[in-house]
């Protein structure tokens, strides 16, 4: 009996010491909390932003994307392009090393680019970023010679996500199934430990050829829900959080040792209200159902609805004020590409009513809802959104009220995301949808969805078709002069804005927070906010 008690006592004592001890670190370890997790560490197969965050820290690419939207050369010390713009020669820096000590040369880069080019299953890296690759070769002078199928203006944004992999580690593996948990890279951080869906531990690469990190370790810890994140930073279990529910912003701001940063996301997304305006004659042959309400093909109707939308109210209620009113699909986070000279349609319900009256949409049967000019159908629109969104239901309630004030009624319905895709495009089996896009640093990707050729492929959700726009799109694809290209892109935005193709309610801001009593030096003065970006993580140091 006594023996048992003794064992118990010892066990308890050990447990207590284990609980109170733990992690008192000499090394400077930064703990970052996020509510997601990399889906895979294989850069070719990865889709989620969290994976890309890790890749940014562990790998290098030809260029770096800065927080202000500009690009700087990274692995290459110089880049030269032929006169016709199709042959790029990158001189790679000498003396570069992989985390395992092997030298990093042009060989590796060429091998990586060929890998991405030749693997059609890589969703982004093959599908989008290597589209224009023709051949990739090396020279004896540690140069990479990249030949394109045509001259493009945005080579930087095409290369920035093509993370360079070590040929010697990847040569023998199955490029699709390789989980890459060892992650031999060349970047400022090395992979130390990875437990999927729990955490990623990175240790500093003090021999990094650019600025090596001042801290010793960075740990990204996964939390299943955002509330846990907020609790974690409040109680000091993490030093920085990359996201939070907007509702927590105020209470975190009030905390003594916590500072909040709000700004455009590094990889901005766009929330959009989509109008099905596909022309029945233009209905895609394969899979097109085209059941949209005819009224939405009339610009007047869309214009009236735009005037009846109080975007600031939406921002207030849904984002708690943390966002900017939207214009077009190009978010303000894309910096210079964003056409800020455009004036939005002001919130004016009276004006909206006037527009509809003038256009002949009156309430023919006295039920409070306007009808088509010929009286055959009321302006009753189906409103769908993906069922996993918590903000869309709120938005639909507010829109129902706002548009109800101009005699439009809605049939709201949450739909399973896969079912929604099936409804959307190229089926065009809906009236109005609330959805959103992710974006690329280069505007070309988003601009594509407005083109005519995107209609049958399923990339166009609106069915919008404007030959003038198509022409400009083709132009900007090959315009090598930056200023000229920018003009074209701005012109394109003006066109689609005038045509009220979408209503963009807002651009969601990134809300992040860090503890002021742990680490200092976080980069917070840029237009874009991304504390987990490599720019911050290499310069922060422990608070003395």
């Amino acid at each position: 009996m006594k023996q048992k008690a003794l064992y118990l006592f010892v066990l308890i004592a050990l447990l207590v010491s284990a609980c109170s001890g733990g992690g008192a670190g000499e090394p400077a370890i930064v703990r970052v909390g996020w509510a997601g997790s990399p889906d895979t560490l294989n850069p070719g197969m990865a889709i989620l932003t969290e994976a890309y965050t890790i890749f940014e820290l562990v790998y290098d690419s030809m260029y770096d994307l800065n927080l202000d939207g500009s690009f700087t050369l990274s692995l290459a010390e110089s880049a030269n392009v032929s006169d016709d713009g199709t042959v790029w020669t990158f001189k790679i820096r000498d003396g570069l090393k992989w985390h395992d000590g092997q030298p990093l040369t042009a060989e590796d880069i060429a091998w990586t680019y060929n890998l991405y080019k030749d693997t059609p299953e890589y969703p982004y890296l093959n599908g989008y970023y290597t589209t224009y690759f023709d051949t990739i070769e090396t020279t004896d002078n540690n140069e990479v010679v990249l030949t394109l199928t045509e001259a493009i203006p945005n080579i930087e944004s095409q290369l920035v996500f093509l993370y360079v992999l070590p040929k010697h580690a990847w040569e023998g593996v199955d490029k699709l199934e390789y989980e890459n948990t060892e992650m031999v890279g060349s970047g400022p951080f090395k992979m130390a430990e990875y437990v999927q869906n729990e955490f990623v531990r990175l240790s500093a690469n003090k021999e990094y050829f650019q600025t090596p990190p001042k801290v010793d370790e960075v740990i990204f810890q996964t939390f299943e829900n955002q509330d846990a994140l907020v609790q974690a930073i409040k109680t000091g279990q993490v030093d920085m959080v990359t996201e939070m529910p907007n509702t927590a912003a105020e209470s975190l701001k009030a905390e003594e040792n916590i500072e909040l940063v709000v700004g455009a996301p590094l990889a901005p997304g766009v929330t959009d209200i989509i109008f099905n305006q596909v022309d029945p004659e233009n209905c895609p042959e394969e899979g097109g159902l085209c059941t949209g309400h005819p009224a939405l093909r009339d610009r007047n109707v869309r214009l009236a609805m735009a005037h009846a939308t109080d975007k600031q109210k939406l921002i207030d209620v849904i984002l708690l004020g943390l966002g900017n009113p939207g214009l077009t699909l190009i978010p303000d986070g894309l910096g210079v590409w964003y056409n800020d000279s455009l004036t939005d349609f002001e919130f004016d319900t009276a004006k909206a009513n006037q527009i509809l009256d003038d256009a002949g949409y009156v309430d023919a049967d006295g039920d409070g809802i306007r009808d088509l000019p010929d009286g055959s159908r009321p302006l009753n629109f189906r409103l769908n959104w993906p069922s996993d969104s918590l903000t869309a239901p709120r938005m639909s309630e507010l829109l129902a009220e706002m548009w109800g004030a101009i005699g439009i009624s809605l049939e709201p319905q949450a739909v399973d995301p896969d079912a929604l895709t099936a409804q959307c495009c190229p089926a065009f089996d809906f009236d109005i949808m609330i959805w959103g896009w992710a974006s690329d640093p280069d505007p070309s990707a988003l601009l594509y969805v407005y083109t005519s050729e995107a209609v049958p492929t399923g990339s166009s959700e609106t069915g919008y078709s404007n030959p003038k726009y198509d022409e400009l799109y083709a132009q900007q694809q090959v315009e090598l002069n930056f200023e000229a290209r920018k003009e074209i892109v701005w012109e394109m935005q003006k066109i689609v804005h005038d045509d009220v193709v979408y209503i963009i309610p807002f651009y969601d801001a990134n809300v992040q927070a860090f503890r002021t009593d742990r680490f200092t030096g976080w980069i917070t003065d840029q237009a874009k906010v991304e504390l987990s970006d490599v720019t911050s993580l290499v310069v922060i140091e422990p608070v003395k």
Binding site: N225, Q226, D227, L229, V230, Q231, M244, P245, N246, T247, A248, E250, S251, L252, D310, K313, D316, V317, L320, G321, S387, D388, L390, P393, R394, S396, E397, L398, E401, M402, P412, Q413, A414, V415, D416, D418, A419
Partner: protein, 642 residues
Amino acid sequence: MQITTSPTPAVPSRPASGLLSFWRSFSRSRTGLIGFWMLVIAIFVAVFAPLLAPYERGASTSVQIDDIYQPPSSAHWFGTDDAGQDVLTNFIYGARVSLTVGFFAAFISIVIGGVFGLVAGFFGGRWENFLMRFTDIMLVIPDLPLTVVIVALTKPSLWNIIFVIGILGWTTTARVVRSQTLAVKSRKFVLRARAIGASKFHILVQHILPLVLPILVVQAVLAISLAILNESTLSFIGLGDPSAPSWGQMLNFAFGRGAMSVGAWWALVVPGFGIVWVVLSLTLLGQGLEQVLNPRLDTHHLMAGRPVVQKEAGAKPIQSDVLLEVQNLSIHYVGEGKAPARAVENISFTLREGELIGLVGESGCGKTTLMLALLKLLPSAGQIANGKVFYNGNDLTVMDEEEINKIRWSNISIVFQGAMNALNPVRTVGEQIGEAILKHEPSFPKDKLNARVSELLELVGIASDHREHFPHQYSGGMRQRAMIAMALACNPKVIIADEPTTALDVMIQAQILELLDTLRKKLGLAVIFVTHDLGVVAELCDKVLVMYGGVTAEYAEVDVIYNEPKHPYTQELLKAFPDLTKPKKKLSSIPGYPPRLDNLPAGCRFAPRCPAAFERCHTDEPALHAPQKDHIVGCHLAEASK
């Protein structure tokens, strides 16, 4: 998704006879009442939502940023939620959605489960096989992934959710209904109906359904609570209908839109409280309903007993050569809100070594109560209201459990009436006998134990290899004999035998009686033999105590009882007993019924049936008179004949 805890209930003895009597028995269950009124409140809130809600439902453009997640205030009693809406309003309307889902989904489950159960139970054969196998399979398939599939296939709308919950919730109901149908099917009135040639459908609807309905009602109540819990879980996982603000949906929004980080506890606590309220009310209601259908005795054998009362101060002197002396023992049964039932009144008798006393009387005259009281084995409602029980000079009535445990079995053992369940079914008979021995003789050598047990079994005519068998492997008569063997295990001085040979055939009975007789002669074993077989009494007993309605009718030596019975009841008893040796005589019986112990007539308890009753018998209780030495008679007539 959580499981129902309702056990398989027994068949009610007769169908519910009217709403009023149902309500009366239901309202005796406190839990049921609480649950009922809680549910009524919830339904009231749901029905009158538009009148009760302070605001209109639905997000409004009149909301400002500051209105979001506001703590409770005079304007918003329960604060606001993530869209600035009034939580109280949403809570009230949420009751509608949650209750609607609950009722409709449960309805679907009950209909499916009920039909399956009825068909399986009634038609049996291949139908039953198929349906029950199907039910088993459905039980093991995890609900949630199945729900995801179905919801993903269809729109996430409220009616789809109701449908999904409904078609996944019938399995327990099917099982329960099937058991019930099986039980009812074999009842006599159903067999009769079939014999008459009634159609299957008619039998199902007219005879079986009414008896299955109560079970279904209980199941329905539980199904509603489960449906409400399931819907809230689905909403939490994001599979709910966002345009139908159930309480679960409110929690989904609150949790997903950062209520906790803001400290907006009201957005989390209030909807959850609603769910708990309704589910709890239904659970309590279900428990209450079950009490009505399957009234469980809420007493058991290990409950604390009632204190012993001894009204008469001072003990009567006890006789020294007497083993067991009972003085003026009175036993009452105490019930809530009623006058106590005077089950046994003023009984006295003595027992010497080797004596055999026969205790005779009709069923319900208090014999068993008296026997239990001797060893303080009365149920918790029983109370020794007066009197003493002396064993070897010690008063058993004032002993505590620890002291009397020493006396029990080793000195006085008891053989219960009807040994059907008197032995523990999951332990071998040998073990149980051995347990008695070891309890009172802890130092009994283990290796000799089995031999001793076998010896005891053979004493009562059971082959010793049955020692390792379980009670269900014994026949009824064997079980009775095993009980006797067990009673003898510790060589007691007194055995109380409550109708020990009633279930046995005459040959075995003779064996047992001979055994008792031998033991009496050899070891001085004293026996209290409770019986209504006067033949056995005549053969074996030294003394006889005749009881009627809980009191002494007559107490004397056996010869006196048979040859000079003074109490009219005794005389009638003797007349009623057939005598094989005498010429054929018409069987006589005593007309009337024994008295109800909670509704005793004034005066003599036998008076209503007594052929010799006169006026005084109906007003005064007779005292115990002794017309001669050692002859007690509880009758007014005996007084006169002194």
